[in-house]
Amino acid sequence: MSTTVPPPPKKVNRIGLEVLNYKGSKTTLCAGCGHNSISERIVECFYELGVEPWTIAKFSGIGCSSKSPAYFLGRSHGFNGVHGRMPAIATGALLANRTLLGVGVTGDGDTASIGIGQFIHMVRRNMPLIYVIENNGVYGLTKGQFSATADLGSTLKTGTVNDLPPFDCCALALRWGATFVARSFSGDKKQLQAIIKTAIAHNGLSVIDVISPCVTFNDHQGSTKSYSYMKEHESMLHELDFVPYYEDIAVEIPEGEVREVEMHDGSHLRIRKLHRDYDPTNRLAAATLLEEADARGEVLTGVLYVNTSKPTFLEQLDLVDQPIATLPESKTRPSRAVLDQVMEELR
């Protein structure tokens, strides 16, 4: 007599969805590409936080990084637009439907070169969007040219030396209005998770600059965006813990060691001090810190800045609560009397 063993219960998140609902199609990027790790973190974060995938919209530009939205959140609408113009597409979509949770993924070519204008204007507007820069300092899809984030003096595989200084996208975001600015490393699972989860909870523009090595064109000696360079030069600002709003936060916190930032949705970012005392709500201090780290040749990672009080662009527009895209005719077509009144004024 055989006994049937019931299958183990499927693992689901707090809204009853399996992780499969958060995955995308199979990646076509190179094995070992940092971008794949970032896709995995995005899948984990949304799964673990139990966000409904169909409330998310994904945006990207052109390049290896911009292909990646196809590889995560397959149940979310995605828009792979034109090179460097992801901010415009995302801005328009969020204007149309303010209830969408926007996730944008771009590369350093998109953000720091062709699209730097759109990037900085989106920063200026504090568009509520998670903006991930998969930063490898190189153009992968066109086979290995320098990008504008490549460090001065770094070399290509061919030995060509970069003789221009890099744009620091975090410094730009910090200076011109982003309300959550972080830098991380694709190889740092825990830190990147905490940062992405905080960005999901944040109401405003989150700029996350992730050093994400290109194993094919920029992982050699002489590169400053390689795995080995990051191992030697990464300087973590602090240890991060994200406590979602639905979890009990009444955990004992050692005095003086941990700083807490309450996010828009009631979640908490718990920041554990490492070798220096750092207040991420102080924008000026963040700017100074970036400059100092740069001078020391360190790559600072962690949450550089968070501001939970500045209104977003959508709030400034004073829109109705519902998505304006799908308002009924009764709300979007003024009455006959209005037309009569306007005509009378023109007589």
Binding site: R85, A88, I89, T91, A96, K331, L339, R347
Partner: protein
């Protein structure tokens, strides 16, 4: 000889004893930034209020202050409101251009001018009316710094006296112009008007061969510019997202819209906006935002001119290929490059019809009046969503920025429809969908909007190669299938674009094909050809691209068809050549004007007569 004296009458040519009533053009030459626009609008409006069909054309420089500007008012009892080349009555206020302005006049014209310019010494075959503007303005405007602005109102008074325009109507127009809030300014200007009128009554006793007489041809009509009409069209079309970048001559379209939307599209229950209007950082961003909004389900639009169209090229290709509804207004100005930013043209036609790299084609709507600016805008939003594609409204500076007499706009009776959009219930019923599959045979797939609360709602939008399921592909058959479906969709559009309008002339051997603001000149030219040369001409006014069967039929019925273009390269003719059969192409001839001013009938008539060998 005193400059106050009019030119000796005996040197004037023989004129009919009776005056020319309600059929003449007034040109006012001023310096821009001098407040002449108010004086000109008041003059135009007062003639309109007296019931006479009237049009006003502003020829202004791309500059803020100090360069020459001309405003032409045409009064026409026949209802012709196109530009008329011949000027009958000149008001010469600009010393820089006065000499040339006077030399260009036909014999017998009248000239009101600033006395110190001594224009009467230039010619003896004109009626001169010198006015000492500085002397007259001082007593009515004690505040010296305001005099420059008030001074121009004096000519309104002078012209009113000379042309028998009723001063009550001038006053009504003045009060309307200034509104209730600026009553003090209105009074100051009214004083200047009266001073001009009284001066002219005393100083000028000689007769003038032009006269305004009350008619009843403008009752119920409105005065509006095309940009404002488009703005109203957007508001009543239920447009929700407007993203734009300022550029002449389209800026006032969105600026006017902002005013109306703030008044009439704020939700009365919550006091919050049912629309978003965003001034973008450039045209790349403005079209990108509009496409993002259209993708997310908004009725989205942007407005621009030629340089903006060039910049939007890449994104429009994405809109075409990813199939996203958006309405784009191109208020055309003279190119190439910066060109003449404040002059009119129809020279973006081919660029826009085929905008972006790869095989692309776009529907274009051609309004020719404020009424059509309003109705076609509403139609364009419906069309863009029905066919899921960028749809262009091709206006121009003449239509967009000049004031036009128009019939009051009818309220849109057709309900707003949103095209093929699947909601959560549809998806539940269907179990899924293929975004780019041609289910209905019209080339248009079904789409879902981001945020649709259903696990099967999502699809991935991309400008790279995609199959019916919106998946990435580089397969030859997938690519060809998709491009063929898009071509088929464009063919289906032919049956849904606004049809041309024909002015039938029985037995006519020749015909015109024209679009947009060429309409006024072509209609008048048909009359001129008949009256002056006994030539009957048919006329087909196109209202959209792609062309429809009606156009082919019109060409077949005529021996020779004159295609009228306001551009150098005969762009409409060029678009026709791309798809017409050789026997029809052989019938086409070109009439072109590209000097930057609104097209006039005489230019068209003269060209046709020359080509007809008469």
């Amino acid at each position: 000889m005193s400059t106050l004296e009019a030119s000796p009458a005996e040197s004037l040519p023989e004129r009919p004893h009776h005056s020319v009533v309600n059929d003449f053009s007034i040109q006012i030459a001023t310096v821009n930034g001098s407040g002449s626009q108010t004086a000109n609008t008041v003059l135009m409006r007062s003639i309109f209020q007296m019931g006479i069909p009237v049009s006003g054309k502003n020829m202004f420089p791309s500059n803020i202050a100090g360069l020459p500007t001309w405003f032409t008012i045409r009064a026409s009892k026949h209802g012709y409101i196109g530009r008329r080349k011949e000027i009958d009555f000149l008001v010469a206020m600009n010393p820089e251009t006065a000499r040339e302005d006077v030399m260009k006049l036909d014999s017998g014209a009248a000239v009101v001018y600033d006395e110190p310019l001594k224009l009467n010494e230039l010619r003896s075959d004109l009626h001169f009316f010198p006015v000492p503007f500085d002397k007259l303005v001082a007593p009515v405007c004690p505040e010296a710094k305001l005099r420059k602005l008030v001074r121009n109102m004096i000519y309104d008074g002078v012209v009113a006296r000379l042309l028998s325009i009723e001063m009550d109507e001038i006053r009504t127009a003045l009060i309307k112009q200034f509104g209730k809030k600026k009553a003090k300014a209105a009074e100051l200007n009214w004083g200047a008007c009266q001073a001009g009128y009284e001066f002219a009554a005393q100083a000028f006793t000689q007769s003038i061969p032009f006269k305004v007489e009350r008619m009843n041809a403008t009752a119920g009509k409105i005065i509006i510019d095309g940009n404002a009409a488009c703005a109203l069209g957007c508001m009543f079309a239920g447009c929700t997202v407007v993203t734009w970048y300022p550029i002449t001559p389209s800026s006032s379209l969105v600026e006017t819209m902002i005013g109306y939307m703030k008044r009439f599209r704020v939700d009365p229950e919550t006091g919050k906006a049912t629309f978003a209007i965003v001034q973008a950082e450039d045209e790349l961003a403005s079209i990108g935002m509009a496409l993002g909004a259209g993708w997310a389900g908004a009725r989205a639009m942007t407005a621009t001119a030629g340089p903006g169209i060039s910049l939007m090229s890449e994104f429009i290709g994405l809109g075409y290929y990813a199939e996203i509804p958006v309405v784009v207004f191109d208020v055309e100005r003279v190119g190439p490059s910066t060109g003449l930013p404040t002059r009119t043209a129809q020279s973006d036609l081919i660029t826009t019809a085929l905008l972006s790299h790869g095989d692309t084609r776009h529907p274009l709507f051609f309004p020719s009046s404020p009424e059509e600016c309003f109705s076609m805008t509403i139609e364009a939003f419906e069309f863009a969503e029905k066919f899921q594609t960028p749809t262009f409204i091709m206006s121009d500076l003449d239509l967009g920025m000049n004031n036009w007499m128009a019939d009051a706009f009818p309220y849109p009776e057709k309900p707003i429809t949103r095209g093929k959009v699947l909601n959560a219930e549809d998806l539940e019923r269907l179990g899924g969908f293929a975004r780019y599959k041609d289910i209905d045979g019209d080339g248009v797939g079904y789409r879902t909007l981001p945020g649709t609360n259903h696990p099967a709602a999502s699809y991935f939008t991309r400008g790279s190669g995609h199959n019916e399921k919106a998946q990435y592909t580089e397969r030859e058959d997938d690519y060809v299938n998709n491009m063929d479906r898009l071509a088929h969709k464009f063919e289906v559009m032919r049956k849904h674009v606004p049809e041309p309008v024909e002015r039938v002339a029985e037995g006519a051997k020749i015909g015109f094909i024209a679009f947009g603001t060429s309409d006024y000149a072509v209609n008048e030219s048909c009359d001129q050809l008949k009256a002056e040369y006994q030539i009957e001409a048919g006329y087909l006014r196109l209202r959209a691209y792609p062309f429809t069967e009606k156009m082919l039929d019109f060409i077949r019925r005529h021996d020779r068809v004159y295609v009228v273009d306001q551009n150098r390269d005969a762009q409409l003719l060029g678009l026709m050549r791309l798809e017409l059969a050789p026997d029809l192409i052989a019938k086409l001839r070109s009439v072109r004007y590209y000097g930057g001013l609104p097209l006039d009938a005489r230019t068209v008539t003269d060209d046709v007569i020359k080509q007809e060998g008469k």
